[in-house]
């Protein structure tokens, strides 16, 4: 909502300065978005006429115009607008002017070799409207103003307010003045109604159809005959220009003025173009009409239209049609002042993707009792400026406005807000805001003003009171440092632990979007459901991710393109399994590329491999409190991993839920994505699949027992079929004598010379120690033999002599 202090003063008597005004507006919840100074600079913008145009010698789309700017010599201006034709009256900005839209200072510039002295401006460049197609076109009447400043002198700055959707009453200058007055900033000036003679009867029949979903509950109108539509007088033009509106014709300007002044949208029809009266009804499916924005709209069933016998004239409360629009030669007008249901307005406008000043107001709620006031205010102005006779006012209604009454408990204020104001002050504020108050025994009976659709219950009154009293009166009550419940749940603690544990292993944490590119996602989706976003930002961000890999691999690729070769990144966050709330899992996903050591004077160069990832995963789980001796690992992994070089980890042999996957990313995916690196290794840890220990750390730590008896290390080498896994050896050996075998380490795996095909040699070092005594040679011999026997029997291996 754009206002000026000058306009406010039509309704507000105050001696305070603009600086105080800006502060006060913000203090009462009418936030000042920006303040534009129009006065000083905009005097430079002049009414000008294009006298001659020539094609630019070096550019097809540009013209070189000779422009009359009211000086002796014509100015040469280069212009690209298609409507820059000879004879056009437009607005000229000389060098040195600051273009309001871009806030840039104009300079004399060579454009493709031709010097341009200034610029011809579009409405959008002047912040007059959003029209950026071509330069501003002024009517012939401006011919006498050539060389004069387009904008009138105004001392008032343009103040742009961000009005919250609950305050339609402040979409009119008067409403803002009322709020300011209630807060002590000046005094509200009572509106004087000019008396006009309403002679004739309004003889154009208006009917509101009583039908389901009727969006119009009241339609007020009056006829004004024998008007002479003209250009608005200077004061009115200045007023509209001062808030960034472009004057059009007196009738249109007056309806706009009334809308901006008291938030009462009106519509003026050329009465001679209406066929036999007005019918307000629901639209039929497929009906069409041309709106004042020169677009043809095809309507759906049930939209609120103003129509006549021939068809749709306009969309009620949203936009009028060209068929019945007023022009300079309009003689008789029908002025409409109606009430439209916010829901109906909003539905229609949304479906047709239409946004107008009237729609913006009606969807927030217009004062239902302002129909007559608005008509009278506009009619008297029209009569004053355009002449004519005004008919009596006709109001058709299918529903009457019901007064809202609230019983307000005065004590409730302090209870919610924390400070007290006197009942007298409460009454004063509410009266100033337009409430009618009846004092009852323990409460105030309040009649809510008709222009406040946002107020319906006690809390709304409290808000009004604290807003007008000032939020700075709210006392600060310091919080008490007391904690009765633990801050994080066990799962949340695990989340944070895993996050930092992975980062501590050299991974950079990333946060990527929860949506991703469908084609990337499909590489990692497996049998998962594809979850499409109906209205994505772009087609490359069209689906929710089924795996974090899709994003990580994309960004990994970008980083490799930046020239980084060896890189580990990870993300901890959601992946989605369905489109219902809760169909998501938390995954820690890591990705490493390149080499583990590169160009080292001390270490052998080698690619990163799956055992690096496995170490990171196992170590992390171990640090998080899961015993890696219990883990069960096999090679069944999703298809996006290399089938022979990937594994999955269970926390124990029950193989309940997969704790993690690790391995090389499938070479086919690398090829399709065209990612160039020595090796690409990934892992996923599934947070929800990690069982939470019921024991706290302090319970787990209770027992400490170690053996000080001598320990012995024995090495064994077995030959065994290739497909027997190391895990099986370890499991068999540890079961031989769990009390005595304290450590088992595979230290060599060998295939090739001296070993039969399909077999491998596996060397294991075993630590044997008793907690009861020092084992003698005989004891050790016995264990050795048991180990060999068990391994040979259970794995089919043979001991190498």
């Amino acid at each position: 909502m754009k206002i000026t202090f000058d306009w406010l003063k039509d309704h507000l008597k105050t001696n305070l300065k603009e600086k105080n005004l800006l502060e006060q507006l913000t203090n009462i919840g009418l936030e000042v978005e920006s303040v534009e100074s129009l006065s000083s600079d905009n005097q430079l913008f002049k009414v000008a006429k294009i006298i001659k145009t020539e094609k630019h010698p070096n550019a097809d789309r540009l013209k070189v115009c000779d422009v009359n700017v009211g000086e002796k010599e014509l100015k040469k201006v280069v212009c690209g607008a298609t409507n820059a034709n000879e004879g056009l009256i437009t607005i000229y900005a000389p060098p040195g002017a600051i273009i309001p839209k871009t806030n840039t200072k104009l300079e004399i510039a060579k454009i493709r070799g031709v010097t341009s002295y200034g610029m011809l401006c579009s409405e959008s460049e002047l912040n007059l409207s959003d029209e950026s197609d071509g330069i501003t076109e002024l009517s012939k009447k401006y011919e006498k103003n050539i060389g004069k400043s387009y904008f009138s002198k105004s001392k008032s700055n343009l103040i742009d307010l961000s009005i919250t959707p609950n305050r339609p009453d402040c979409l009119g200058v008067k409403g803002i003045a009322r709020d300011l007055a209630a807060s002590g900033f000046g005094r509200l000036i009572a509106s004087k109604e000019k008396k006009i003679k309403l002679k004739s009867k309004q003889n154009l029949k208006v009917k509101i159809n009583k039908e389901k979903g009727q969006g119009c509950s009241a339609f007020g109108s009056c006829l004004i005959k024998n008007v002479k539509n003209t250009e608005s007088p200077q004061w009115l033009k200045d007023k509209l220009i001062s808030v960034g509106q472009k004057p059009i014709s007196a009738i249109v300007d007056i309806t706009n003025y009334v809308m901006l002044d008291i938030n009462r949208p009106l519509h003026a029809y050329d009465a001679d173009k209406i066929e036999k009266g007005i019918i307000v009804r629901n639209s039929k499916s497929g009906e069409e009409f041309t709106a004042l924005d020169n677009k043809i709209y095809k309507l759906e069933k049930g939209m609120c239209v103003i129509s006549d016998n021939k068809g749709v004239l306009g969309l009620g409360g949203i936009i009028g049609g060209t068929r019945s629009g007023t022009e300079f030669d309009t003689k008789n007008i029908l002025l409409e002042s109606a009430y439209f249901d916010p829901r109906s307005i909003r539905n229609t406008a949304k479906k047709l993707n239409l946004d107008t000043d009237a729609k913006f107001r009606f969807e927030r709620g217009i004062d239902p009792l302002s129909i007559e006031t608005g008509l009278k205010k506009a009619a008297s102005l029209i009569q004053e400026i355009c002449g004519g006779e005004v008919s009596k006012i006709d109001i058709q209604k299918i529903e009457s406005y019901k007064t809202k009454i609230i019983n307000f408990d005065v004590n409730s204020f302090e209870n919610i807000v924390g400070f007290k104001i006197s009942e007298k002050e409460i009454q004063r504020i509410l009266t100033d805001l337009g409430f009618i108050i009846k004092k009852e025994k323990n409460s105030l009976k309040l009649i809510v003003p008709s222009w406040r659709p946002d107020i319906s219950q006690q809390i709304d009154i409290i808000e009004e009171l604290v807003r007008i009293s000032g939020y700075d009166k709210i006392k600060t009550i310091d919080p008490i440092k007391d904690r009765s419940k633990s801050t994080l749940t066990q799962t949340q603690r695990l989340f944070h632990f895993l996050q930092r544990a992975i980062a501590s292993k050299g991974y950079l944490e990333t946060i990527t979007w929860s949506f991703t590119d469908q084609s990337y996602n499909n590489h990692f989706r497996e049998a998962g459901k594809e979850i499409k976003i109906v209205n994505p930002i772009s087609s490359e961000l069209g689906v929710l991710r089924n795996s974090i890999f899709s994003n990580l691999i994309m960004y990994m690729s970008k980083n490799l393109d930046r020239g980084f070769k060896d890189l580990s990144i990870f993300e901890i966050g959601p992946v989605f399994t369905g489109s219902k709330p809760g169909e998501q899992k938390t995954v820690v996903c890591g990705l490493s590329a390149g080499k583990k050591s590169r160009l080292s004077w001390i270490d052998k160069e080698r690619n990163i491999d799956l055992f690096d990832a496995k170490r990171d995963v196992v170590q992390t789980l171990n640090e998080a409190g899961y015993n890696s001796d219990q883990f069960f690992i096999d090679s069944q992994t999703p298809n996006y991993y290399h089938p022979g070089k990937s594994g999955r980890i269970f926390l124990d042999h029950k193989k309940d839920k997969v704790a993690a996957y690790f391995g090389e990313i499938h070479p086919n995916i690398l090829k399709k994505i065209d990612i160039k690196t020595e090796n690409l290794i990934g892992f996923e840890i599934f947070l929800e699949n990690l069982k939470l220990s019921r024991k706290t750390l302090k319970d787990q730590k209770l027992k400490f027992s170690v053996s000080d008896f001598q320990k012995s290390e024995r090495d064994f080498a077995f030959v065994v079929n290739k497909d027997v896994e190391a895990q099986e050896f370890i499991s068999v050996i540890s079961n031989v004598s769990p009390n005595l075998i304290s450590n088992i380490k595979v230290f060599d795996v060998y295939e090739g010379e001296n070993i039969p095909d399909n077999q491998k040699s596996i060397a294991i070092s075993i630590t044997i120690q008793s907690s009861e005594k020092t084992l003698n040679d005989k004891d050790l011999e016995k264990i050795n033999n048991s180990i060999i026997e068990a391994v040979e029997n259970k794995t089919g291996a043979k001991i190498r002599s």
Partner: protein, 355 residues
């Protein structure tokens, strides 16, 4: 001459010669081994009369110690010489690079979430979470934002179905609804998490982070809200004083509602929080609307309290001088490395939030 003296003389003179480590060890073993010359003398002690026994034993011990020390001295000398000789040869260029290491980092948003949790933990808030995909009811309707409410226009929503029943949450406020439906009052929670709006330009990202706060109890009023936020902002920006301004505003789910500005100034191109005469909007808050409480079956005549919502990414940008919101989600190695935090820097109350 007694045997003892003979042994002593013989070996003392032997030990005067130039001997290597092996020869010395041989002598040691000849004397003190299981059947060594000295060891075997000890076995004779029993053969002597009581009167002579004492003297013999004493002499024997003296000789034993004498020879023993002599041998050890020799061995030490040689070993020392050996080490010195080795040290001469073993000299390495220590300015050569160490074995390579990689530092992992924590994303600034994660670090900021931990900082926020740590601060609110002190005053008794616990952390709640909710799903990223929400239904229309929890995200809007239950929050007093019925269908066709113009306030819905302010949230450019991503929908997952044509009927617009499922969506990506546009704020963390639905966690309020879930929490209050699940438990009984009082409530004192914060809910950090991802939020989504179909808005993408220099200052908007289609995904960003918010933290929701909710405190519902019997007598919680706007003074408590002011106190809580004042405490949080001071702790978060690690300043002693903060200039703060509550401005009336409107959110459908709170009433009265406020937007909160903090004072700042620009010094040498850097933003200084807490001083100066410029205002920066950082959060929205208010008293939970009675309609919302009714929707979650909490009696608004018995319970009341406040809620707030803060942009986490924006807090991180302000605190750590990050200019571009979109860079948060661009995964540029250089950016992550520059703005990331060491995983060992866990924000805590006793060590401080940040170094």
């Amino acid at each position: 001459m007694s045997d003892l003296k003979k042994i002593r003389d013989e070996f003392t003179s032997k030990l005067k010669g130039k001997l290597d480590l092996a020869e010395l060890n041989q002598i040691k073993s000849d004397l003190f081994g299981k059947n060594g010359l000295v060891s075997s003398q000890f076995k004779k002690i029993g053969n002597f009369d009581v009167s002579e026994r004492k003297k013999f034993a004493s002499d024997l011990n003296i000789i034993k110690d004498e020879l023993h020390d002599l041998i050890n001295l020799k061995i030490n000398q040689i070993e020392k010489a050996n080490i010195n000789e080795k040290l001469e040869k073993e000299k390495i260029d220590v300015t050569l690079p160490e074995r390579s290491f990689v530092r992992g980092k924590i994303h600034p948003v994660s670090q900021t979430i931990d900082e926020i949790s740590s601060i609110f933990s002190e005053i008794g808030f616990s952390v709640e979470e909710g799903p990223d995909v929400e239904n229309e009811y929890n995200n809007f309707t239950a929050l007093n934002t019925p269908d066709n409410h113009p306030a819905r226009d302010m949230h450019d929503t991503f929908y997952l179905d044509e009927k617009k029943e499922r969506l990506l949450r546009t704020h963390t406020s639905p966690v309020q609804i879930r929490t209050m439906l699940k438990d009984k009052p009082p409530f004192k929670i914060i809910a950090p998490g991802r939020t989504y709006r179909s808005d993408s330009d220099q200052t908007h990202s289609p995904m960003f982070h918010q933290v929701e706060g909710l405190h519902i109890d019997k007598n919680i009023n706007m003074g408590h809200l002011k106190g809580c936020l004042n405490y949080f902002i001071k702790e978060f920006f690690e300043v002693k004083k903060i200039k703060m301004r509550f401005r009336p505003s409107h959110f459908p789910f709170t009433e009265p509602s406020a937007e909160v500005d903090i004072g700042y100034e620009i010094k040498d191109g850097k933003i200084i929080i807490g001083e100066g005469d410029k205002w920066l909007e950082i959060l929205g808050c208010g008293m939970v609307h009675p309609n919302v409480l009714k929707n979650v079956k909490v009696d608004p005549t018995k319970f009341q309290g406040y809620a707030f919502g803060i942009g986490i990414d924006r807090l991180a940008m302000l605190k750590y001088g990050i200019n571009d919101l979109r860079a948060f989600f661009d995964c540029d190695y250089r950016w992550l490395n520059h703005f990331g935090f060491d995983p060992l820097d866990v924000p805590t109350n006793y060590r401080g939030l940040s170094r």
